[in-house]
Amino acid sequence: MTAPRDKLLPRFKTIIDYDRCIGCGKCGESCSYGCIFFDKEQKKPFVKKQENCVACQRCVIFCPKEAIEIHNYPVSYPPHALWSPYHVRSIIEQARSGSVLISGTGNDRPYPVIFDYLVWDACQVTNPSIDALREPVETRTWLGRKPKHLSIKEVDGKFEIDDFPPNVMLSTPLIIGHMSLGSLSYNAITSMYKAVKEVGTLMGTGEGGLHKDHYIYKDRLIGEVASGRFGVSPEYLDIAALEIKIGQGAKPGHGGQLPGEKVTELISETRGIPVGTDALSPNPQHDIYSIEDLKTLIAALHEATEYRIPVGVKIAAVNNVAAIASGIVRADADFITIDGFRGGTGAAPRILRDNAGIPIELAIASVDQHLRDEKLRHKITLIAGGGIRSPSDMIKIIALGADIAMVGTAPLIALGCKVCQQCTTGKCSWGIATGNPELGKRIDIEWGARRVANMLRAWTAELEEVLGTMGIDAVESFVGNRDRLRYLGPNPHEAEILGVKHAGERITRGGE
């Protein structure tokens, strides 16, 4: 009796046009997933394993003759509104493996994107718009704690500022989020470090420690202190800012694992663990079971860095995010990063990635409002990330209450990522999400740095343009300025939570 069979159908169909093909072999070289194979003897590529194609487009882009096409696999799933291919395929995968499904990138489910329901204001008549190309429109932003007012002492009839908390200067309210060496290749990480240094903004190290080659970028890096404490050394603490990672938008409540086979020599010396051991970051930080424990760690990091740098906390956007954030301010954090449920990841249980947490738009609006109710908002810098795709999303999240927007997937796209969601496999054909040094070489560091810096600059330029059309010449005057946003979506309750009026709504007197 033969064993019953089932298999996952391919998702894509790769078609090679042999009339156009010149047999150069670029496609076979490009394919890191084992789909296209180039037969050197016949000088001819062929599709060896169709189910391995992930539509990463590397072969298509590198083919000099446009001879490759990728289509959706031409097989219909029997139509069913409930049992969509997503569910059918997931069951087949689990029936085969018996394990938790792991995915990379961010939540890909078709939830509404609230950013797309928001529009902003512009100047007309009563108030001149500003031409950002001719007149200053300032985007400089400071990360750190702010006093309510300056504390001043008088010395010999002159006034002196007594004490001012450390603040890091950013040229733009846009930073790159935490991505570790290990989840990304050495070249991808170095490209982004170089770019933020050049632009004058910041990037997070992720929980990967800091390779000694990267010490030159320290003044532009936020060092992550996560549950595994990998790479947290005295040298590491000499950095622009520190961030305690409690949670990540893609997997709230979860930690992380870098399997032993990915812990190479390079990773081993950066994280301070032996080659080949699993790098396991526990779900909670085992010395933080409560807000008072968090306060202790914040104090310890402040002490260890002699109060020279800001210490912040990153949390995932969950139901109670507003109250948790106010606890974190009271625990003396200098900044808070909120990561929305669309945030990216190198690897996360798919069930968490797709279902846990709340959208960043709602989370930031409620955190901002709650901190203002508690009279705490002016003290801290609020960073928002998780699903910010464009300068317009960045602009909207600032108006909803964030000081700084954080991006992760966007700069990876600048480096070549096509969002094929295979980060967890380590086979990234673009040399980004991989520990394989051969694949990593596919990114030229100079080229990568230029691409990412261009993106950061372009977003900043668009921010300046937009602020100008709103008659605002410094970005701080736009933080939490919901007055300039309007809602244009299906659910007025959403607008209420955001604290944004509906488009066309006139200003009415407040309740009395």
Binding site: T126, P136, L150, F164, R377, N481, D483, R509
Partner: protein
């Protein structure tokens, strides 16, 4: 249906903004001047108003009641409720000692309909040292909670008079020629889209401060949220309201030494550009950057020219504009150096004094006059005077 004619905005009103005329005069010797003069100044700029509101502030008006706070109100009665004046009086007697009250004399021939204008001289019942905070809260409470009452001002030895009408009508209605004070500001409105309401006219006042404003604040949402944290509620739905609260917070409440408080407040509202701050010497740079970072949401963005008047702690007049000077403001000092003027247009100053020396303050730089004379002329170089007292 909106039953309020004077003390509340109409139910569907846009936030106020627009053109406007501003004028101010200050006798630096603190000698009383008749209201005639300021009236002549404002009325000449007729094309800057549209009859939707005007108002003025006077300092030195009550030499006999210098130590009491003067709560000056417009009042209207609502059907089936006790008269507004009674309700205000009940409230005031619960938290203050009313030393004197009186009807503010008005000319009944100007408007077909007009509210009752009344003033109370009060002393708050509270711990010594907290009088100002208490009076601030009393004024905010009246405006927020007592239907049919609008408190125009609540400072010492000063008052605000305002309403809907052309500037000459408002001047006539409040019989400005009978009033005398050493410092005046007068504003005429050209609101872009609201039918005016009496409380919505300028000046906006809190304690001894008053502001008149020409412009539109694009940072309104950010400023209001900041003020909410600092304990100020913006209820009047006008761009101008946050400006006076920002001024009050920084000058009075934050406890900055008087020598630097005015500079700090005006700098927070219109700070130097970062590119200029980067070029300053280290001490000044540290100060200016710290002020800018600390009070980042106090910055008033968008076009404005304003006149701030205050007598707390000393009689002071400030003319200020946005960093790009998108609204006009001109300053002048009479030939005898006894009278200081501010106006939207030079013709307003020439109307009453055509031998004065006038100048254009630089964008975003305040002109500050006190009884000691013009302290700062609104020049880019003023910052070095500020630097002299810093370390």
């Amino acid at each position: 249906m909106n039953t309020y004619k004077f003390t509340k905005r109409s139910n569907y009103a846009f936030r106020d903004s627009g053109a406007c005329g501003i004028t101010a005069l200050f006798n630096l010797d603190l000698e009383p001047v008749s209201g005639e003069k300021i009236k002549d100044m404002i009325c000449v700029m007729r094309e800057r108003e549209n009859g939707q509101g005007a108002g003025f502030s006077v300092y030195g008006l009550f030499p006999e009641y210098q130590d009491q706070y003067c709560i000056q109100l417009i009042l209207e009665d609502i059907p089936e409720r006790p008269p507004a004046k009674e309700r205000v009086e009940d409230f005031l007697s619960s938290c203050t000692d009313i030393v004197k009250e009186e009807k503010v004399p008005v000319d009944s021939n100007v408007f077909r309909e007009y509210p009752l204008v009344w003033r109370f001289f009060v002393e708050p019942k509270c711990v010594s040292g907290e009088e100002d905070d208490m009076m601030k809260n009393i004024m905010m409470y009246i405006n927020d909670r007592i239907d049919g009452a609008f408190c125009m001002s609540g400072g010492k030895n000063m008052a605000v008079f305002k309403g809907v009408g052309w500037s000459d009508e408002i001047a006539k209605f409040y019989r400005i020629e009978d009033l005398k004070g050493y410092m005046w500001s007068f504003h005429s409105r050209f609101p872009t889209n609201t039918p005016g309401w009496w409380g919505g006219a300028h000046p906006f006042s809190i304690l001894g401060h008053a502001v008149i404003h020409n412009g539109e604040i694009t940072s309104y949402g950010t400023n209001v949220e900041y003020l909410r944290e600092l304990g100020y509620t913006c209820t009047l739905m006008t761009d101008t309201e946050p400006l006076i609260y920002i001024f009050d917070y920084i000058v009075r409440k934050s406890g900055y030494p008087y020598k630097i408080a005015l500079q700090t407040a005006t700098m927070a509202m219109a700070p130097p550009y970062w590119r200029d701050i980067d070029r300053m010497d280290p001490i000044l740079k540290k100060w200016v950057a710290s002020i800018r970072i600390t009070h980042r949401w106090a910055m008033a963005n968008g076009p404005f020219s304003i006149v701030l008047t205050t007598n707390m702690p000393r009689p002071t007049m400030i003319g200020h504009s946005d960093r790009k000077k998108l609204r006009p403001l001109i300053a002048a000092l009479s030939e005898d150096e006894k009278t200081f003027y501010l106006a939207s247009e030079l013709n307003a100053i020439h109307e009453v004094d055509n031998t004065s020396n006038y100048w254009q303050p630089d964008p975003g730089r305040p002109v500050i006059a006190t009884e000691d004379g013009v302290m700062l002329k609104g020049s880019d170089r003023d910052i070095y005077k500020f630097a002299e007292v810093l370390k």
